[in-house]
């Protein structure tokens, strides 16, 4: 891996990064607003919400700092884990927004770095780093729920292509994505986990259609996705045919870590203390302080596990991050709702999207593996409890 940063001391890097951010981060991008509505997701059809958003993305991408630890050759920054941490600290102290967000960066990228061919890496990673292609994840199917391996969407080999028929559900932003990484069944006779292939496909391929699912929050971040004789070149397999479950599991580990802290914004949003300013309710205060204590400890745990992951694999322990982070986030939003009282009961009332965000958190402990699945994974694989 090209590691340009290795010649610098961490303190030198900090000084340089701070100066560069100070000089390059547009003022409008310094509001620390990383809510799902305000971040840039990129992609072919992305409408930048401001010039500043575009400038910020381009500048960061040019440094490779949209994906700071990826190798420079694939559009990354080639930073060490320590440097990445420093970069994030400096961005936070400036209030700089995350320049780019999405499943390409957080989930597919790491899988391609591990399982992709050289050609696939060259082809797919740089556009992800520059925010040119927006990805979605095609795992879940209707009725399968937590049983992700019960994939029914079938891919039949016809010449150099697969022909795909079936249906996916809970596909995040499938209606806005350019490409999908999907699990398809390529061998119906093999054991459940052994006939699945991990495929990349263009959402503009003939036969792909999507339908948004309306959630209790009123938003539609998820879709149903339908495949009707969709042709996909067999070169777009990641890993081996029928061994897609290994790739999927690896992606899931990253997804879980991402949901636990990143996407749900454990560190983002208004701090609990400020939300409570208006109330003197001792019952609420006692709970909020307890939640704040747990949030700080969880933030430290995310750091510790990122370091662990860098030093080796954390494997199934990522289920802990997913479980604890999402349950804690739900608790935090319950407390924010209670603190805000009647003001938070109104859609787009004085607290803006708070009620919507509150309802959105309820999906955190379901998507990417339910809390119940996470606990079972921990019990069986980490604690090695018997079946």
């Amino acid at each position: 891996m090209t590691d340009q940063g290795a010649q610098q001391t961490n303190e030198e890097f900090r000084t340089e990064a701070r100066a560069w951010l100070e000089a390059n981060c547009p003022t409008e991008m310094r509001d620390a607003d990383n809510s799902e509505e305000s971040v840039c997701w990129g992609g072919r059809n992305w409408s930048f919400q401001s010039d500043a958003q575009k400038v910020w993305l381009d500048r960061m991408a040019s440094k490779g700092w949209t994906v700071p630890t990826w190798p420079v050759e694939f559009g990354g920054g080639g930073l060490t884990r320590d440097q990445e941490k420093i970069l994030r600290e400096e961005m936070a102290s400036l209030g700089a927004r995350v320049p780019l967000h999405g499943f390409g960066i957080g989930m597919l990228g790491p899988a391609l770095l591990k399982f992709g061919t050289e050609t696939q890496k060259q082809l797919y990673l740089p556009p992800i780093a520059r925010g040119e292609i927006r990805w979605c994840q095609g795992y879940s199917e209707p009725g399968a729920g937590s049983d992700l391996a019960s994939v029914q969407t079938k891919a039949e080999t016809v010449g150099d292509n697969y022909v795909i028929n079936g249906q996916k559900i809970w596909t995040s932003y499938a209606d806005k994505a350019d490409w999908m990484f999907a699990l398809v069944r390529t061998d119906r006779d093999a054991p459940k986990h052994r006939g699945i292939t991990f495929l990349l496909l263009d959402m503009t391929s003939p036969g792909v259609s999507t339908r948004p699912i309306r959630l209790i929050s009123g938003r539609s971040p998820f879709c149903e996705t339908f495949f009707d004789d969709v042709e996909v070149p067999r070169t777009q397999i990641v890993g081996e045919e029928n061994r897609g479950w290994d790739v999927a599991k690896y992606v899931l580990t990253h997804e879980r870590a991402m949901i636990s802290g990143g996407r749900t914004g454990l560190t983002g949003g208004r701090p609990l203390a400020s939300v409570l300013e208006g109330t003197s309710d001792p019952f609420l205060r006692a709970q909020a302080v307890g939640c704040d204590i747990d949030m700080m400890a969880m933030a430290l745990t995310l750091e510790r596990y990122k370091d662990k992951a860098k030093a080796g694999s954390i494997g199934d322990a990522s289920s802990m991050l997913k479980y604890y982070g999402t349950e804690l986030n739900k608790r935090r939003f319950e407390l924010m709702m209670a603190a805000a009282g009647a003001d938070a009961l109104e859609w787009n009332g004085p607290y803006g999207s708070l009620p919507t965000d509150w309802l959105r958190t309820k999906a955190n402990s379901i998507e990417g593996g339910t809390s119940e699945i996470m606990l079972s994974v921990i019990a069986k694989r980490v604690l090695e409890m018997p079946s």
């Binding site: 809970w170 938070a344 009332g349």
Partner: protein, 371 residues
């Protein structure tokens, strides 16, 4: 005190109410109203009036059915189960207690009118994010023989359908209750789009003229009249929340018994069994507190405050647990708008704030229990 078991009459009332509501106002009815942008169904309310529900706290002599607070709780509980939309609590529970507590023959006609379904009442008490009637800021300024009222009331449940507002305001720094027609000049109401899709208004008073005869009770006498009425409303709301909890619980339990994953019915997984069992225990314990509050209001209303806040605190916590567990145990489908679980979650959140939140009731319990 009468036993906490239902009497025969109460069992009959419960069966009847549940039967009626499961036909006339299931969750699909609420959904249809929401999708049509409606928050009040006059026909449904007319049927409730027909069955004597509007007069549940009004003596038979005054045209009511005089069934009492325990019965009101049974009705509210049944409504909570299916999330039925109606102005029941402000109109049939709070207003009648207010007018009876005022002991003024002027109000007999109003009481009769309530029982006959002529009026929909709304309580305009709250001004901020938390229920806190004692700290009302709205002032009714004396102007000759009358008063002028300018300011805002918020979180007024059923405030868009109401033809009468019960407004709490200060006269010479003393809390005073006014009964004002909603079409009085200067009153502007706007719909608040609450998460639970129930009729809720923000009411603006723009130099509204209030007269002596609009006062219920005396100047400075609001809390003496309002306190028992709020207690009655809180007890009914607690019953509604307990019903809501059992509604989402039944939905969830049904799902657990039917849904298969990994080749098994998920209700056979022990971890989920224990969670369902724990939730059921919480519901049973809350149920006792809710029934007890109704009995106390019927039998020694002057001592009922502790019982009411006990029921409210329990019901708020139990409903919150029931909706949170309910949505989680449903998995993805529970998150979709086309499924009913979300409606329960949203109503529970609103119910946890109206007429006092957990902290409000727990503080009252603490004070009464010597903490």
């Amino acid at each position: 005190m009468t036993s906490l078991l239902p009497t025969e009459d109460e069992t009959m009332l419960d069966d009847m109410a549940r039967g009626f509501l499961s036909e006339a106002a299931p969750v699909t009815h609420l959904r249809a109203m929401r999708d049509a942008g409606k928050t009040f169904d006059p026909d449904l309310w007319a049927q409730m009036v027909e069955m004597g529900w509007a007069g549940v706290l009004i003596p038979e002599a005054a045209g009511g059915s005089g069934m009492g607070h325990a019965a009101a709780g049974i009705l509210a509980r049944a409504m909570g189960r299916t999330l039925a939309s109606s102005p029941f609590i402000p109109t049939a529970v709070i207003a009648p207690v207010i007018f009876q507590a005022a002991h003024d023959p002027r109000h007999e006609e109003t009481l009769r009118g309530i029982a006959e379904g002529k009026h929909v009442f709304a309580l305009a008490v709250d001004e901020g994010p938390k229920h806190d009637p004692e700290n009302t800021k709205l002032v009714a300024t004396r102007a000759g023989n009358a008063f002028r009222l300018s300011g805002l009331k918020t979180f007024v449940r059923n405030g868009n359908a109401a033809d009468r507002f019960l407004v709490l305001a200060k006269v010479d720094d003393q809390l005073t209750l006014f009964d004002v027609p909603s079409d009085r000049e200067g009153i502007q109401r706007t719909e608040m789009a609450l998460v639970d899709s129930q009729d809720t208004a923000r009411v603006q008073f723009l130099d509204v003229e209030l007269r002596d005869e609009d006062i219920v009770g005396e100047i400075g006498g609001a809390m003496a009249i309002l306190r028992p009425a709020l207690a009655a409303g809180q007890a009914a709301l607690a019953a509604e929340m307990a019903g809501l909890a059992s509604g989402i619980f039944d939905l969830t339990l049904g799902y657990l018994k039917e849904r298969k994953q990994f080749g098994k019915v998920i209700g056979s997984f022990q971890a989920l069994q224990h969670r369902a069992a724990k939730l059921w225990c919480e519901m049973e314990v809350t149920e006792s507190a809710v029934i007890h509050a109704g009995r106390m209001l019927d039998e020694s209303p002057e001592d009922a405050t502790l019982a009411v806040s006990l029921a409210s605190a329990r019901a708020i916590r139990t409903a919150a647990l029931a909706v949170q567990e309910g949505v989680q145990l449903h998995g993805g489908i529970g998150m979709t708008d086309e499924y009913d679980a979300g409606f329960y979650m949203k109503r529970a959140q609103v119910g946890a704030e109206w007429l006092g939140d957990y902290g409000f009731h727990a503080a009252r319990v603490a004070a009464l229990r010597g903490f």
